[in-house]
């Protein structure tokens, strides 16, 4: 778990301003090495460019400056093979059944019919959706719909799994359980996971390493290693050193969040 799976060097993103003003400097420069098979999380204040960073790695957005490599190949405007993304918003296709939604993930994957069916069945079973394979998303709860999206991503067997606040719309109890699910899947599929979250405890519970981003334009200002064992679940929050991790994250993030809110760091 030491070689770099994803490398970012001087990655910067500026968006053109509406109304002819100067471009908005949203992100960077960012330098990062995400290791093969690790669970990597990013936390940062609102609007710091976390989701932009994820979209750059996914190939959904082009970087203004800098270079991103996945498995040694540069990421351009093409979506690279082997990347899966789970978004915060409900991305289920409402006109398709659960099974059809999951099968959609294999649309561009050349597979024999038997193998295709096996993978779809496995992904549905893995996410505990076996009884709902013929249901439409409207018949499912928010958590179940998010599991459909995860199953659709996993069915293509991605080597890099990008999670953009995937539990943002869920209640705390479901978030914890989904966190356990994600940890279990991460161990099972062996993919590198890149998680964007605004929840410090979620990042601390799930990740091997956590990057803290500054207020806009987002840069990495701290990198925290958790040293949790690979075999872990949400009970990691009971560990004595869990508080030290979240405290360090909060200490760095508090100042940045205050900058975002236009307040002076250090003020009570």
């Amino acid at each position: 778990m030491t070689s770099a799976h994803v490398t970012l060097r001087g990655v910067t993103k500026r968006f053109p301003a509406s109304g002819g003003g100067p471009p908005v400097h949203a992100l960077g420069p960012v330098d990062l090495d995400i290791r093969q098979g690790e669970f990597f999380a990013i936390v940062g204040p609102s609007g710091c460019g976390k989701s932009t960073l994820l979209e750059l790695i996914a190939g959904l957005l082009p970087a203004t400056e800098g270079r991103i490599e996945f498995e040694g190949r540069p990421i351009g405007q093409e979506i690279p093979d082997g990347i899966g993304v789970v978004f915060q918003e409900d991305a289920c296709f409402p006109w398709l059944t659960v099974r059809e939604n999951v099968e959609f993930g294999l649309r561009k994957v050349a597979l024999a019919a038997g193998e295709r069916a096996r993978r779809v069945n496995d992904a549905i079973a893995m996410m505990g959706l076996g009884d709902f394979a013929r249901s439409h998303p409207a018949q499912l709860s928010g958590g179940m719909r998010q599991r459909v999206c995860i199953a659709r991503t996993l069915v293509a067997e991605p080597r890099l799994l990008l999670l953009d606040e995937p539990f943002g719309a869920l209640d705390q109890q479901t978030r914890l359980l989904m966190g356990d699910e994600v940890l279990r899947l991460w161990r099972q599929i062996g993919a590198t996971v890149f998680l964007i979250t605004h929840a410090l405890d979620e990042a601390a519970m799930l990740a091997d390493r956590i990057a803290v981003m500054s207020a806009r334009p987002g840069r990495v200002i701290d990198l925290v290693e958790t040293h949790w064992p690979r075999e872990r679940d949400s009970r990691v929050v009971e560990r004595a050193d869990f508080g030290a991790v979240t405290s360090r994250l909060w200490k760095t993030l508090r100042e940045e969040s205050m900058k975002t809110m236009g307040r002076t760091p250090g003020a009570a």
Binding site: A58, I79, D90, W95
Partner: protein, 247 residues
């Protein structure tokens, strides 16, 4: 249809029946509904107007199909070209203030006295409604679904066919309902003005000759066709919306 809705319609028909039978509405103006029904079955079993009915329906179908396909393709294409769309928006906004029927003589000069001008009017009336409704539906496709299509490495055509158009299928059914209604209005209306055949011409001819036994059954036929076809589309729309938990 719910029982109370059926009851309201049945009540109105009975009221009309009563008004006709008591002479409040005179026979020259309108036949009582039961008489219209008898004439309708007589006309349908005789089959003498089948060629006229067939010609009108073929033209309605052609105008509908053209308006729908062209509108759908144009709407989808325009959605990707913001500048062109913004240029055409004022035209779309004021389009239905233009009396398309006023151009009928021009269409006859260009296309002759055949079915062309009638189909063209049906097409012109419907196509913009389909374009606007398609654009309206495409505007509502969540960004996350487009991103999901990109992650699945779908090209623009595949994204349109597999993601964006299926998402806005309820809007596309609304577009079909509008195109169908406008196709009927355009074709039958044009036949009224200058044609020498078709249901519109037959209704107009019967009207000028006080032939209520032909005029009202033909009007009833047009009504029934419109209601049945629209009812089918509405049912389909409800099924799609129900699947999405919107009914």
């Amino acid at each position: 249809m719910r029982l109370y809705q059926f009851g309201v319609i049945a009540g109105l028909v009975l009221l009309l029946e009563g008004l006709c039978l008591t002479g409040v509405i005179d026979k020259i103006t309108m036949q009582p509904p039961h008489r219209i029904l008898i004439d309708f079955f007589r006309l349908m079993t005789a089959g003498t107007l089948y060629p006229e009915i067939g010609k009108s329906l073929a033209n309605v179908l052609l105008a509908f199909a053209l308006a729908y396909v062209v509108g759908l393709v144009a709407g989808t294409a325009l959605h990707g070209y913001r500048t062109l769309r913004e240029t055409l928006d004022p035209l779309f906004a004021t389009y239905y203030a233009i009396p398309v029927f006023a151009f009928y003589p021009l269409f006859i000069v260009i296309f002759g006295l055949g079915d062309g001008p009638q189909v063209l009017i049906g097409f012109l009336l419907g196509v913009v409604a389909v374009i606007v409704t398609t654009l309206n539906g495409l505007d509502r496709v969540p960004r996350v679904l487009r991103k999901t299509a990109r992650i699945a490495r779908l090209g623009p055509l595949e994204t349109a066919l597999k993601v964006t158009l299926p998402f806005c299928s309820p809007y596309l059914i609304t577009a079909a309902k509008l195109a169908l209604a406008y196709a009927f209005i355009g074709v039958i209306g044009s036949e009224f003005i200058m044609a020498r055949s078709g249901m519109g011409y037959e209704i107009s001819y019967a009207f000028l000759n006080f032939d209520n036994a032909t005029m009202y059954p033909l009007i009833l036929l047009i009504l029934l066709l419109s209601i049945v076809l629209n009812g089918m589309l509405t049912h389909w729309e409800k099924v799609l919306l129900a699947r999405r938990g919107l009914q």
